[in-house]
């Protein structure tokens, strides 16, 4: 009776370790799996010697469940990586909203859509054409913005550009406690993104450009 159960248990353990291995960084796979396997075997042996019998499948399942889902276990061995990190995320979110909702959407719905409808004899195909154009433009623009920010994130994590700032370069605060107007924030973000993009091509002028952007 115990033989088939042990084989099943072994295969469950092997399947678990194999699943963890899949998500680990290649260079460390074997080492990490060996260590994890050793710990799990020690737990199994300890429980078996306490019970004085081999573990059944549900008992082994409980041990594996305690260890955690393979993808989560593997993720703990990887350094935390961001496509867009917490510092750039709000800027990315703002630029995305600004470009998609406040620029592209109105242009397509208010200008291009009506132009296409009035130019064609039947309105349905024109509306459909506008809608499909809207989807394509919004998705590709969002992708392009995300790629730009992912590049900026890489650059930022290596060069720590955001740490190089000077309190004197900050823009003057408004006299009243009123929040800056929408257009003002929009303008600041546009110049900000342009400034960041401007930094990309040239290494030599990077910091002077940065200062210029900060003081603008």
């Amino acid at each position: 009776m115990t033989q088939p159960s042990q084989t099943n248990s072994q295969s469950l353990l092997d399947r678990y370790l194999h699943a963890v291995r899949f998500w680990l960084p290649k260079a460390q796979q074997q080492d990490i799996v060996n260590e994890l396997s050793e710990d799990l075997h020690a737990q199994i042996e300890e429980q078996e010697s306490a019970l004085k019998r081999p573990l059944n499948e549900s008992e082994l399942e409980a041990i594996l469940k305690r260890c955690g889902s393979p993808i989560i276990v593997a993720s703990r061995y990887r350094p935390q990586k961001y496509l867009i990190g917490p510092a750039l995320f709000p800027i990315w979110q703002f630029v995305l909203k600004l470009v998609l909702v406040w620029v592209l959407l109105p242009i397509l719905v208010v200008v291009i859509g009506p132009a296409l409808v009035s130019a064609s004899s039947r309105w349905q195909p024109a509306v459909w054409q506008t809608f499909s154009m809207l989807c394509t433009v919004l998705i590709s623009t969002a992708a392009a913005i995300t790629i730009v920010f992912a590049v900026l994130e890489r650059l930022e994590s290596r060069l720590r550009l955001l740490d190089r700032w000077n309190p004197h370069s900050l823009p003057p605060a408004p006299r009243t406690e009123k929040r800056p107007s929408r257009t003002q924030s929009v303008f600041e973000i546009i110049t900000g993104v342009a400034g960041l993009l401007w930094l990309l091509p040239s290494r030599t002028t990077r910091f002077s450009c940065w200062d210029r952007w900060r003081s603008s």
Partner: protein, 115 residues
């Protein structure tokens, strides 16, 4: 106290945050004598600091990559085990961390007395 019971997830997150740094000190202190992962986990649990393998092994790996621990695969009881111990670089850092921990503890004690 009642907030903890009302919002267990919030308490759990704060508890994990609080424990994270303490676990590093506990692991370094425990590894003044050489041990392998499983016995280290048992020793910590026996002293009241249970830590699951999903947290411990990545932590050991990180501490080793930072030069605070050294490790070695060795056979014991017919099984290959990875033994860890505090490195010469780790020793003064552990002392500094323990001083820091004592300072925090004393500060907290003073704050609680004032309240």
């Amino acid at each position: 106290m009642s907030h903890g019971t009302k919002n267990p997830q919030l308490f759990e997150n704060l508890r994990l945050e609080l424990r994270r740094g303490c676990l590093i000190v506990a692991v370094l202190a425990q590894l003044r004598t050489e041990q392998y992962g499983y016995t280290l986990r048992k020793a910590l649990a026996d002293d009241g600091l249970a830590i699951d393998q999903g947290t411990l092994y990545p932590l050991l790996r990180r501490l080793e990559s930072q030069g605070l621990l050294v490790s070695q695969w060795r056979e014991e009881d017919k099984r290959n085990k990875r033994f860890y111990r505090l490195s010469p670089t780790g020793e003064p850092i552990l002392r500094q961390l323990l001083d820091e921990w004592n300072n925090i503890n004393q500060s907290l004690g003073r704050i609680l007395q004032e309240a």
